[in-house]
């Protein structure tokens, strides 16, 4: 296991291209030993490029990669001592499950007993213990993916475990089972894990830190809770959470935020003058229907109701702007379309030009 340091790393697939067009714009980052990081973003955001730089499949156009204090930038993948799991299981179909798990260890000078103990331990954790003698070919897709994962886990000296969309091709019903296994394994083995996905559910479930990427940049890196509670910009507010965070244009007078003619109290304060486009951001989970008009309650009109079962999503307009809020089914639906919305001050954030104000 190792700490991974990325120093001024950037990459372009076209030589001499201007930096704004690079697949990965230059940046610095450190990943702590034993923590799990997920890289999440839409296709083309640069997350796979970044992973491939760490694994050595791509040599960065600039910058250095360190595993602990060792500069590995010029080392090929085979000499970086990493384990990789890809979208499709990479296993030896004709070998038994046991032999697949043993294979990464054969060139190490381990005793037979030590190998057997390790393989059996890993197989047990993965829930493959009863199928060790079967050929890999005879297993389901999700079990095959577990073998790929197991091949990384038997080597307990790997610098990092890199996973590239490992659940994408797994049947939706089996995904839960695999997610649970991966999370248990992460907690138990304590490896440094870098997990690439386009699925916020996986990213938020597995990671200590989530890196949200867009257009070749890491737009925010933080714990799942930080991304939810304090998105640094409108993109993170949109990408994390479902439905997305509400962003509402507001007016400013005397350095106070006003909406619908009413002053709104907020968590952060308006600093750095009044220039730029000022908006407030609030999660649909935190907007609620106010019983009576008090502080931070603003009139709104319900225009649509979506029934998701335990929750309903109300689409409302506030002075012509659209916002969404989640309402528990237990709470019912308002009897009138004209409602008052409560904006809890601690959950209401000010953004200037789509960036969160400090």
């Amino acid at each position: 296991m190792a700490k991974v340091t990325l120093q001024n790393i950037g990459h372009s697939y076209t030589a001499g291209a201007p930096i704004e067009t690079w697949a990965l714009k230059p940046f610095d980052m450190t990943w702590e030993n034993g923590k799990t990081y997920s890289l999440v973003g839409p296709s083309g955001c640069g997350k796979t490029t970044l992973l491939n730089i760490v694994s050595g499949i791509v040599k960065p156009s600039q910058g250095r990669v360190f595993f602990d204090e060792t500069d590995v930038t010029d080392l090929p993948t085979s000499r970086r001592n990493i384990a990789q799991v890809f979208q499709f299981p990479v296993i030896y179909q004709s070998m038994t499950v046991y032999d697949n798990l043993v294979f990464p260890l054969v060139c190490r000078k381990w005793s037979k007993e030590r190998i057997a103990t390790k393989v059996n331990d890993v197989a047990e954790v993965l829930g493959l213990g009863d199928r060790l003698k079967k050929t890999a070919r005879s297993l389901n897709a999700d079990d095959k993916q577990l073998i790929s994962l197991g091949r990384g886990l038997v080597r307990d000296d790997v610098a990092a475990l890199l996973m590239d969309e490992p659940l994408t091709v797994i049947d939706p019903q089996m995904k839960f089972h695999l997610r649970r296994k991966i999370k248990e394994i992460n907690q138990q083995f304590g490896q440094t894990v870098v997990y690439v996905t386009h699925d916020q559910y996986e990213a938020m479930t597995f990671a200590d830190d989530v890196l949200v990427m867009s257009n070749g940049r890491v737009v925010q890196s933080g714990s799942p809770e930080e991304l939810f509670e304090s998105p640094q910009n409108a993109y993170v507010g949109y990408f994390i959470g479902s439905p997305a965070m509400n962003f509402i244009d507001v007016s400013v007078s005397n350095l106070e935020i006003t909406l619908g003619g009413k002053v709104l109290r907020t968590r952060n304060t308006l600093t750095g003058g009044v220039g730029g486009k000022i908006q407030i951001g609030i999660r649909p989970e935190y907007l609620s229907i106010a019983r009576s008009g008090g502080e931070n309650s603003i009139p709104a009109t319900i225009v649509d109701i979506s029934d998701f079962g335990s929750l309903r999503v109300l689409k409302v307009t506030i002075g012509g702007q659209i916002a969404r809020l989640k309402v528990s089914r237990e709470d019912g639906i308002p009897s009138s379309k004209e409602i008052l919305l409560n904006f809890p001050a601690q959950k209401t954030l000010i953004y200037r030009d789509s960036q969160l104000l400090a």
Binding site: Y201, P224, G241, D307, F308, S310, L311, R329, D331
Partner: protein, 360 residues
Amino acid sequence: MSLIAKNISVEVDSVQHLSDLSFEMSRGRLYTVLGRTMAGKTSLFRVISGLLKIDSGDLTLDDKSIKDEMIWRRDVAMVYQQFINYPHLNVSQNIAFPLKKAGLKKGEVELRVHEYLAKVGMMEFKDRKVSELSGGQQQRVALARALARKSNILLLDEPLVNLDYKLREQLREEFKSLFSDQGNVVVLYATTDPAEAMMLGDEVLIMHEGKLLQKGTPQEVFENPKSTLVAQIINDPPMNIFQGSISVGNINLPGGVSFDVPSHMTHLNSGDYLFGTVSPAIMLNHQGSLPATVTYEEVSGSESFIYVDSKIGPLVIQIAGIHSFRIGENVAFNLNPESFYVFDLGGQTIGTPSRRKMIK
């Protein structure tokens, strides 16, 4: 004017795919078919489109049996999980192709293509090759082609399952308005996602192991599921079910947990029952009276799902926002018996929570 299934059964290689399926569906309405993998959703679609032969029973459209009708005479349009388009044709040509084949006049074809390009938001891509489009755009084209035909029946088999999370969310909302005006078409939409089924369906059909368990409006099915199985399938996470008993005005649960019988259960005799509660109705808090141990946690973009072991059995608790729990962590929670569903030991529903319909 409707599509009617009467006691349809289908067996393939001595495996029962559909068993004694009966329903009636009206033109102009959207029916979501919700069930887990192997529930029979795809078999049902194959039967309706004519790809799978019925062993017994009948399928009628507007009072005329179509069970022996050949595929191409049934006028069924289909959209699959995979994005299926004609790769050598551009976007407009893809939508026009079946219309031309159906013998529509050139002017009419152009009009229709135009109308449906606009509806799926693909006007600016009309001259692009489909191979140059993203997954979401390709699925929009497939959808436009299927809709433009104005067929008798439109079958959508998990059309969003292969798309990114955010795109799924966006298209789901677009679908809601897109399908709101389906004129004369019977639309069936298969999904494994309860939220999608609830949100899009005029009615929901719950399927399990080849059987139709319940059919009704989303509200009916959600609030009055016929059985524990329906209650689990329509809820995500599945409804928590635990065994207990009712005696002398009390609900008694394992581990000495006891509540006053809530108003919607006062008519029940003493005896053993199954109780159910949805995940968001369980309140996790430090002062909670029931201890539990976290066995697993998942986090979506905006909710946390905490899997716990407790005296009354394993439960899933759902809370808004992102809160992190370690496996093995001790927590406490409260249950609200007013929100309990109650079932007999065979799993049939005998009581559901009363609902506050309106906030004053």
